[in-house]
């Protein structure tokens, strides 16, 4: 994917650029709002990572609004040290697609950038999702693995649907909390892990290949590949 980073802090920019390149993405970097707006407007990107507080008292939200008004639909991940709920809402209202507060773990950033990129490429086809021999029918809400039917609770269905929609991508626990339970706080116990392991028990019988992998220091990934 081609990614644009608008971030004035050199160290953060370097760290993110390096990490994203290692993950196989093409990365461009703008250190201020003017350059960022110019780059974003002049060539197409798959995802834009936008810092909020830029040099010269420029708010990244202003740039996002300008891009959206110009008809630019590139998915944007907002990076910000402003954590209050109001700030998040403001960020998303201005046209941002996701909001990540600083400081952040790189795994979280990567997972969210991947998720945004996937969303824009519109990889969803029809009303079935498939990973390996695991199939999910979104209309009849039926899940099967091979010939075996799997019964899921509504919330388990939602969790599996999210994992399958983001197959071959890392999803973090925070992303799962936000998407499946709509909670924006971190429970102190490893509740998400327990839900995942319960789900695994249902979709991965002993004779079957594992589909949900734990990615160390990041989260989970659903994939049929080893």
């Amino acid at each position: 994917m081609k990614i644009l980073i608008v971030e004035d802090n050199e160290r953060v920019a370097q760290f993110v650029t390096k990490g994203l390149r290692e993950a196989g993405h093409t990365v461009e970097h703008a250190a201020n709002g003017r350059d960022g707006l110019f780059l974003a407007a002049s060539e197409p990107h798959d995802v834009i990572v936008m810092d909020r507080m830029l040099p010269g008292n420029v708010d990244g939200l202003g740039i996002i609004e300008a891009l959206r008004q110009a008809g630019n639909r590139t998915p944007i991940l907002i990076l910000s040290a402003l954590d209050a709920v109001d700030e998040r809402i403001k960020g998303l209202r201005s046209g941002g697609d996701d909001y990540l507060t600083k400081p952040f773990a790189f795994g979280e950033l990567l997972a969210r950038v991947d998720a945004l990129g996937r969303r824009s490429s519109g990889a969803e086809a029809g009303h079935t999702l498939q990973v390996g021999d695991l199939r999910m029918d979104l209309l009849s809400r039926r899940v099967t693995r091979g010939s075996r039917a799997i019964t899921l609770q509504p919330r388990e269905f939602k969790l599996l649907e999210y994992l399958m929609r983001h197959a071959d991508q890392v999803v973090t626990r925070t992303m799962l909390l936000e998407a499946v339970w709509e909670y924006n706080f971190d429970p102190q116990t490893n509740v998400v892990d327990v839900h995942i392991s319960k789900l695994r028990q249902k979709i991965e019988h002993e004779s079957e290949a594992p589909l949900v992998r734990t990615v160390r220091n990041a989260g989970y990934m659903m994939t049929e590949h080893e």
Binding site: A84, V85, P103, A105, W181, Y183, P187, Q188, V194, S197
Partner: protein, 459 residues
């Protein structure tokens, strides 16, 4: 004096005093006028009637008859109220109680007020009516003007006394009211000054009389409670940051410093770095919790309140925690008596409940039990309760349990930073309710009570 006049109770009292005086004076003037008109004109009428009567006697019985009539009349009179004089054409007295025709009387008919010497006694201020009878006889009919003088004097005295009384009472009242008010205001002022000087625990005196001052004092005391809590919160936070953030930061620092000094094998280095990242995460989670608390304390989140079914929120959180409880072998049950609508923030309520369940899960023993229930009370308030059979909180620790960074002895060795209950408490207070920590014999019954007012005020 100037200061006294600037005092508002004195100004008001003096205003009322002037109003009273003005009313009294207006009353007196009107009364005086009415009195004068009726008495004065009444007197003239009587004089005319008298003179007419005597003229009739004269016409009927002649001068001698009138003389006898006058004599008999005067004999009946005890005090010199009435003055009568009959003279011939040359003003020589024939009958009456005057020695001579008074010189002061001008010619011509009509009434005249003059001083005359009555035969028996004092000079009297008299109103005289002069009539000329047929045959040149002159007749004077008079009435003592001083007859009502004592009454008038009494009236004047009474008026003066009333004015004096009103004035004295008014001024004394003003001074007394001022003194009373000053005493109360002074009490408030000394308290407020003490608070400004830094003694935040002082409160305004408030009796149970329920008057305006007590109501005001109680309102101000409520405000002071809130301010004290906020200030303590701020100083607590600074203390906690100094204390609780320093520990992981110090660990982190020594870990990294050790790495640069010892330069161990790569595998060991990476393990140390991972531990350092965990330290940073811990610091970050403390920061996040503190920021959330600060956000809650400002009350800004209240603008996002919607009508929420607390029972539904609780059911979802319970469902969220069910697998974790199951894994730990804890009996986890949920009970709700129908919908429990409150005005609130569903995510915050979920977080508060999740903190309570987290706490319980951490401290209940293997095969313990946790019961979550949502009840609608008779007064319409909603109670969200998490009860467990863990070690509970010691009675002595309960008041401190919601303080930031407080950790009871029982939880010393469990993970956490001591902000969970602070957040629950802050969420409950944001919703106008309170967090109550009750005993479950054994264990803890943590109850968030959300008042019905929260549900109605937002509509």
């Amino acid at each position: 004096m100037n200061r006294l006049l600037r005092s508002s109770p004195v100004t008001w009292a003096l205003g009322y005093l002037l109003l009273g005086l003005a009313a009294l004076v207006a009353f007196a003037v009107l009364l005086w006028y009415a009195w004068n008109v009726s008495i004065f004109s009444g007197r003239e009428e009587i004089l005319h009637a008298d003179a007419q009567h005597l003229a009739d006697v004269f016409a009927r019985e002649g001068p001698q008859g009138l003389k006898a009539h006058i004599d008999s009349r005067l004999r009946l009179q005890i005090v010199g109220e009435r003055t009568l004089l009959l003279t011939d054409a040359d003003y020589r007295p024939l009958a009456g109680n005057l020695a001579a025709w008074p010189r002061e009387i001008p010619d011509g008919a009509g009434t005249h007020a003059v001083m005359v010497d009555q035969l028996a006694g004092q000079p009297v201020h008299t109103l005289l009516l002069r009539t000329t009878l047929p045959g040149g006889y002159h007749l004077l009919v008079g009435r003592d003007l001083g007859f009502y003088l004592p009454l008038e004097r009494k009236f004047a005295w009474g008026l003066t006394a009333a004015i004096t009384f009103l004035f004295v009472v008014g001024v004394a009242g003003a001074v007394l009211i001022r003194r009373q008010l000053l005493a109360r205001v002074q009490g408030m002022r000394t308290t407020v000054s003490a608070i400004m000087a830094g003694d935040l625990r002082r409160r305004l005196p408030a009796a149970d009389s329920g008057d305006e001052f007590d109501t005001l004092s109680r309102t101000i005391n409520g405000m002071l409670d809130h301010i004290e809590r906020l200030i303590h919160g701020v100083s607590d936070v600074s203390n906690s940051i100094a204390h609780d953030l320093r520990t992981p930061l110090a660990e982190l620092r020594s870990r990294l410093e050790e790495l640069t000094l010892t330069r161990p094998e790569p595998a060991e280095t990476f393990a140390a770095i991972e531990a350092a990242v965990a330290d940073v995460d811990r610091v970050m989670s403390i920061f996040a919790a503190l920021l959330r608390l600060a956000e809650l304390d400002t009350g800004a989140r209240r603008s996002g309140f919607v009508e929420v079914d607390a029972a539904r929120v609780a059911a979802e959180v319970v469902e969220f925690y069910e697998p974790a409880a199951e894994q730990k072998g804890v009996a986890f049950s949920f009970r709700a008596a129908g919908a429990a609508p409150v005005a609130g923030d569903p995510v915050l309520l979920a977080q508060a409940l999740s903190n309570l369940i987290d706490n319980s899960l951490k401290c209940v023993p293997e095969r313990g039990a946790i019961v979550v229930c949502v009840d609608k009370r008779a007064d319409g308030s909603v109670a969200i309760e998490v009860a467990d059979n863990g070690p509970g909180i010691a009675a002595a620790d309960k008041p401190k349990a919601t303080e930031r960074f407080f950790r009871g002895d029982a939880s010393r060795n469990t993970p956490g930073v001591g902000l969970g209950l602070s957040i629950v408490d802050a969420v409950a207070r944001l919703h106008g309710g309170a967090l109550e920590l009750l005993d479950n014999h054994p264990g803890l019954r943590a109850q968030m009570v959300l008042p019905v007012t929260a549900a109605t005020s937002s509509r």
